[in-house]
């Protein structure tokens, strides 16, 4: 059973990695990358390395994702200026 799990996991990892690079949509690549980190954490569990898994989870779900998304936001911010129509509707949450 776990053989299937392993192959599924590794296959998914490769799929994500390929999908992330074989893509011109930057945001998609980044989301793929974030997901990739989380899958890696699962892979570490399977490889009997909980310390690594924990580190990968903490960093992958936390800092890396935030940094990447911030970078995407930055690169988007000047390439295509935001429409200004939303400002009046904007709530302080979003």
């Amino acid at each position: 059973m776990m053989g299937i799990f392993d192959i599924l996991l590794v296959g998914t990892l490769l799929w994500i990695a390929f999908g992330s690079l074989n893509e011109n949509k930057l945001f998609k690549s980044v989301v793929m990358f974030i997901i990739f980190g989380l899958f890696m954490a699962i892979a570490w569990i399977r490889l009997g390395s909980p310390d690594v898994a924990l580190a990968e989870a903490a960093i992958g779900a936390g800092a890396t994702g935030a940094l990447m998304l911030d970078a995407v936001g930055h690169l988007r911010s000047r390439a295509t200026p935001y429409p200004t129509g939303h400002e009046s509707r904007e709530s302080d949450d979003g």
Partner: protein, 105 residues
């Protein structure tokens, strides 16, 4: 029927239900027509799936403190999930993504 077997059977059932809800959530994510509806699928089924799985695991561990920890985890997931869900829906609304109202699918 020994007590452990009862627990095991309950656990199996919980696991099966959990798997079902996880699967349903993902199918919903894939099948539903727009962001908002997909969010529904995501927040409800998956949290339920996690809750059921945690309950099963708590039963198996047979320790109150572990059960409490699993409950804590579940609660955190719910709070975080609800907030994330709200934030995403909110941002989708703000960015002008109109909800699907049927018809074009």
């Amino acid at each position: 029927m020994p007590w452990q077997t009862v627990i095991d059977v309950i656990t199996y059932a919980l696991f099966a239900a959990s798997g079902f809800f996880f699967l349903a959530g993902s199918v919903g994510l894939v099948r539903f027509p727009d962001v908002y509806t997909r969010l529904h699928a995501l927040t409800k089924s998956d949290n339920l799936g996690l809750g059921l799985a945690s309950t099963g695991l708590a039963l198996q561990s047979g320790s109150w403190i572990v059960a409490a920890k699993l409950l804590l985890i579940w609660m955190i997931v719910i709070v975080a999930g609800a907030t994330a869900c709200y934030l995403v829906a909110n941002s989708a609304r703000n960015s002008g993504i109109e909800p699907w109202t049927g018809g074009d699918r």
